[in-house]
């Protein structure tokens, strides 16, 4: 079953077309890889789906619902969580507070304002429940012992993991990981592979941008390749690996880095 689908998704900045007419599908419960050379439009594509950027035209359909152009907080509440290429944590907040922010809308209730006032007047009950959930999210990453440290004091690898914990806290249906292995050493990458598998086992679908080909090829169920904003290939890792267009985009052709 298709969980997320884009139809003719296009984003142009003036004359530069960063994402061009991309049809993309991601199946429920699968890991979908999104690869392509630097500047291929991968992050823009992520931003257009998650609402940080508005597509010029095209549709985004998530779980049967058109979410094109919704503000990012609404999209998040529909069950799409994400991490960022350059880590974006709430640095002056503690580890567990970062996760609690990820849970923020989950324990809102309706109407949200009333829920806010209720938490203002009667802090205790709701908080215990939230803290427990946040701890469970940290357990999943094995970070519970660092719960009360400031996020900015964590080592780099843990900061990346914390971002994932924050995204997982709200039990999303789909999580976007933007280059989670960037800057990691082989050991850290290996444990990242385990982590992504465990996320998948929880029934959460994953879309992954990654430059580490070994990681992508081991873990992805299907792969989409972007080059200069165009989708040039899609399919299983084997199909993509042997696709001549992909090989050209990565190894030769004009304007490569």
């Amino acid at each position: 079953m298709t969980l997320l689908e884009t139809k003719n998704l296009t984003r142009a900045f003036g004359g530069v077309v960063a994402v061009n007419n991309v049809d993309f599908q991601c199946e429920k419960g699968e890991v979908t890889g999104l690869i392509g050379p630097n500047g291929a439009g991968k992050t823009t594509f992520f931003n257009d789906i998650t609402g940080l950027d508005k597509p010029t035209c095209g549709r985004v359909i998530f779980d049967g619902e058109d979410i094109t152009g919704l503000p990012p907080y609404r999209i998040a509440r529909k069950g799409i969580a994400r991490t960022f290429q350059n880590i974006r944590l709430f640095k002056e907040l503690t580890v567990i507070e970062n996760v609690l922010i990820g849970l923020h809308f989950k324990l809102g209730g309706n109407p949200r304002f009333v829920a806010g006032m209720r938490s203002f007047l009667f802090m205790g009950k709701e908080r215990e429940e939230m803290v427990e959930r946040a701890y469970r999210a940290l357990d999943f990453l094995g970070m519970s012992d660092k719960a009360n440290e400031l996020a900015k004091n964590l080592p780099y690898g843990h900061q990346r993991e914390l971002e994932i914990a924050r995204a997982l806290a709200s039990d999303p249906k789909l999580i976007f990981l933007d280059e989670p292995a960037a800057g990691m050493n082989p050991n850290e990458t290996a444990s990242l592979v385990g982590l992504i598998r465990r996320i998948k086992d929880k029934g959460i679908s994953i879309v992954l941008i990654e430059h580490d080909m070994k990681l992508v090829m081991t873990i992805c169920d299907s792969i989409v390749v972007l080059n200069y904003g165009n989708k040039i290939a899609s399919g299983t890792p084997e199909q993509v690996r042997s696709n001549p267009l992909v090989i050209r985009a990565y190894l030769g052709g004009e304007g490569n880095d």
């Binding site: 709430f90 938490s119 009360n148």
Partner: protein, 299 residues
Amino acid sequence: MNFVLLILIYTCLFSFMALGQNVITGYGGMLSLCQAGFYAIGSYSVAILTTKFSFGFWPALLVGVAVAVVVGILIGLPTLRLKGDYLAIATLGLGEIIRNVINNWQSLTNGPMGIQRIPMLSFFGYRINPYLNKAGFLLMLVVILTICALLVLRLSKTRIGRALEAVREDELAALSAGINSTVYKVLAFSIGAALASIGGGFYSVLTLSISPGTYTFMMSVIVLCMVVLGGMGNVLGVFLGALIIQIISYLPELLNLTNLIPPQLKEMLFGIILVVMMIFRPEGILGRSKRHKFERGGV
């Protein structure tokens, strides 16, 4: 003694503004420069309603707070999308617009002449004469200020405060985590406006006559200075900052040196304080409050 009481009273009045600034800038990370404008709204609401419409002080104060909140929301919605520097100028402009309106809306505000003969306030049936009973006035202010401070502290520890701080730290990440940042920014801005307005209302019944010359941009800068000095995001720091700045303000009078120390010198000192604090101790004297510890299974 009377003079010391007066300094403490002013410390409290400024603390209302600084407490609001702390919510806006300390928690919310938004550099607003119009606390004086909201202070003016509170002052004028009380002055106008009590002199022209025979309101009692307390209902007038409530109306003043409501007006400040409404203005805060109306202005906040379009401007709070702006980043730091733009917001500073826009709010600075708002402060000037408020003063412009007060100066020009003669029929309501009496223009540059200001409003005189504001009736004194009664507190649970006791009439508090600000000239004769400074201690009583101060006590009342301390009580109300403490309540406000406790509410702000509590707010900072709930999900509302946490969301606000997340927006300050990284708005895009907060948005992606499902937080509607505009709501929290406008909320913080309105709370700041409301607190300043309360301070302004009390100012009217302290001096019993007000004029637009009081509510200048300089006043907003001094309030900002207090928060920066004491420590942004620290309620105790706000009071400390307010107290230190008020003491510096009245130092010449306290030491009987008004002939030797011109008033501009202390104003220059405020400017230096801002620069020096930013370079050497940007977190303020007390720094940000310690984070709350969340333990498993308990709070």
